[in-house]
């Protein structure tokens, strides 16, 4: 195969390693080691390891990107002195938090206190297993990858609430309750906005959704759905203007008030993992994934790994928009947030679904042209 894919890299590495291992082992063991199943298994492991490393690295770079961008919005510089332009700042933070004591308050419930952050982190990371990044750079054609991603995405309020409740702090508890209410309220418009995309693309597979956007990206025809999706995603990611659960002004640090050290790092990391997932989903569903429009010169789209390049560029730009929103909007109140969620977002998302149905029936939209195969 000419295209490099994540599979080919992982299996290449696996067969390389096992071949090397086999060549220094005696005959029987060599046969066992170079067995197809063993190679496949190791390939899957390497595949997962690459995904893990890539997602963590991207998250850390994302935090750096937010800090620098936020600094610029605020007329200052952001982290500068650790590494070039502060690139290593987040590694320093991570190592420091790793070394810090992990304090459990005496009255806290140990089971929930320790498993909450871990589960939050793990569920946030699993999502990367189903997100395609470029042609071939995915975990296979899961027919329902979009649904799976969103299902895992919506686990978070449970674990946040468990960890908030078990840390036995009033601020944590209030933050946890707010978080649960908010995420459940915004789960519905989020899914309905996705339904609009699914109606138009005719598939739950993220890869297929991207392929369906060859003709035009969905942000134009499905603008209402995009607005609903981004707003609901902001609420799910708990970022300003919807960051009530960790509203610094009234609830000290929200549901992670009692967490320090590595557990706090888990929370921080998982938050940004979810932010990354949110940005990636926006890119996949509405901004054409790794494809570029036809007027882009082919030199810019045909170099090696061009798909990944454009995909990451879009992701970071989308996240930049989230940061921009964070830098310029105040925070809403819980009751207002819920009222907006139930009274505005859900009708708006239903409208988006309706518009998508109309689009599929008409198969034409000005000025994007007609696509006879749409919605099939």
């Amino acid at each position: 195969m000419s295209t490099i894919t994540l599979y080919s890299v992982a299996y290449g590495l696996a067969s390389l390693l096992l071949g090397a291992l086999g060549s220094i082992l005696p005959g029987a063991a060599r046969a066992a080691v170079t067995n197809v199943d063993v190679v496949t298994g190791l390939g899957v492991l390497i595949f997962a390891a690459i995904l893990l490393a890539a997602s963590m690295l991207n998250t850390i770079v994302l935090i750096w990107w937010e800090r620098k961008l936020l600094g610029r919005f605020m007329d200052r510089r952001g982290a500068m002195h650790v590494g070039y332009a502060g690139l290593l700042q987040n590694f320093a933070d991570g190592f420091k938090l790793f070394r810090k004591d992990t304090v459990k308050p005496r009255e806290a419930d140990a089971l929930g206190f320790f498993t909450g952050p871990a589960a939050y982190m793990v569920t946030s990371m699993i999502i990367f297993g189903v997100l395609p990044i470029s042609t071939g750079w995915n975990s296979g054609a899961l027919p329902l990858s979009l649904l799976l991603a969103l299902a895992i995405f919506s686990f978070a309020p449970l674990f946040i609430f468990v960890s908030a409740w078990s840390s036995n702090n009033k601020y944590s508890l209030m933050g946890g309750m707010r978080s649960a209410a908010q995420m459940i309220a915004y789960e519905v418009p989020l899914l309905l906005a996705v339904v609009a995309v699914v109606i138009v693309s005719g598939s739950f597979s993220l890869t297929t959704i991207v392929y369906e956007q060859q003709n035009y990206w969905y942000w134009g025809p499905l603008f209402v759905a995009l607005i609903v999706f981004v707003a609901a995603m902001l609420a799910e990611m708990e970022r300003i203007p919807f960051d009530l659960p960790e509203a610094e002004a009234e609830l000290v640090e929200g549901w992670n008030t009692e967490y320090g050290g590595m557990l706090f790092a888990f929370f921080m990391l998982a938050d940004y993992l979810r932010a990354l997932v949110g940005s990636i989903l926006v890119v996949l569903l509405f901004l054409g994934g790794w494809t570029m429009p036809s007027w882009v010169p082919s030199a810019a789209t045909s170099f090696p790994l061009a798909g990944i390049f454009w995909f990451m560029l879009k992701t970071y730009l989308v996240f930049g928009v989230f940061v921009w929103i964070r830098a310029s909007l105040p925070r809403v109140r819980t009751d207002q947030l819920l009222r907006v969620g139930w009274n505005r977002m859900i009708p708006l998302s239903l409208l988006a679904v309706f518009l998508a149905a109309v689009l599929v029936t008409v198969k034409c939209v000005w000025p994007f042209g007609c696509v006879p195969s749409m919605g099939v």
Partner: protein
Amino acid sequence: MSEMWINMGPQHPMTHGLWNLRVKIDGEMILDVDPEMGYLHRGIEKISEDRHYNEVITLMDRCCYVAGLAWEHLYIIASEEALHLEAPERALYLRVLCEEFQRLASHLMWYAAFVQDIGLMSPFLYGMRDRDLILDLLQSYTGARMTYEYMRVGGVRSDLPPGFTDRTRKVLDWLNARFVEYDQLCLGSDIFHKRCDGLGILKANDCVAHGVTGPMLRSAGVPRDLRRDRPYAVYDQLEFDIAHADTADVTGRYLVRMEEMRQSLRILRQVVDWLDRHPGPVMADQLPRWLGAPYAPVGNEGYLLKRHYPKGLGFSAVEEPHGEAQAYVVNEGGEHPYRVKFRSPVFANISAARQYLIGYRVADIPPIMGSVDVCVGEVDR
């Protein structure tokens, strides 16, 4: 969730200082509040009884640390009255210059803290950035950023450096343009109105009954300002309007403070023009040595001699950025004041907390208390 008391403070991002707001909540609703002060009680009134008149100025700067010069002004007026002294006119203008600069700096500090309370992140930095410009100006003639010790009984310590007035005009123009940006960031946002309109209402009658003054009272429709109602220094020779609103809520207080800053710019332009045209002495001539007359070496024989000055009572009231501050100085004829009593506006504004907090939500506490503009230093003294 049943009813419970939570402590917001002394270490809490909402407090902007060292105090404790005990809140009884049911879910998100506030049922009762009980402010607990005194975490910063430094006994300034007691220490003042042990100090020379001019040494108390040091404490005044630290009494309210965001409006030090206003408090210096307050104390200076009262003690000049108690000691039967008068300052030259240029010194009076310089004091007004100081007080209006301080009002701008204090309101910008308030803006920075208040927007953070409602979750706006970047205007905090903008407020601090523009406040630094004013502090630079103050620093150029007082020598310090926050604790100035600039005024003296009988005048001020020093005159302005050359080129000061031109720099001031530049800064005033810059600020005038920035205030538009501030309003866009706050009033231009629907979320701001959703958060702040109709919040923390304290009507005029309640304000008066609970001794609430300053922007809180003016936002309730009472255009009361000591600079106009009971002019001190040279405020009766300056033109300005009293900012007031009639909504009595957080937005009203925001509007009042923003308008006050614009009026301060107006006053400052007049003062700077006057100072350009009228050079003169900044310290009274006939001062007792122990008061530290200009260029009198400290430690000469007159300094330590206990001089008796006619007894007197001094009272002064100043429109401080937070409200009406008052000082009562009792002079029993010695080097030290016999008793100094200060009235802090924020003290009264916080004491009415039950009136404007009960019935709202926990998330409303930061904007409401932010709009009160708490400076714990002057509450606890």
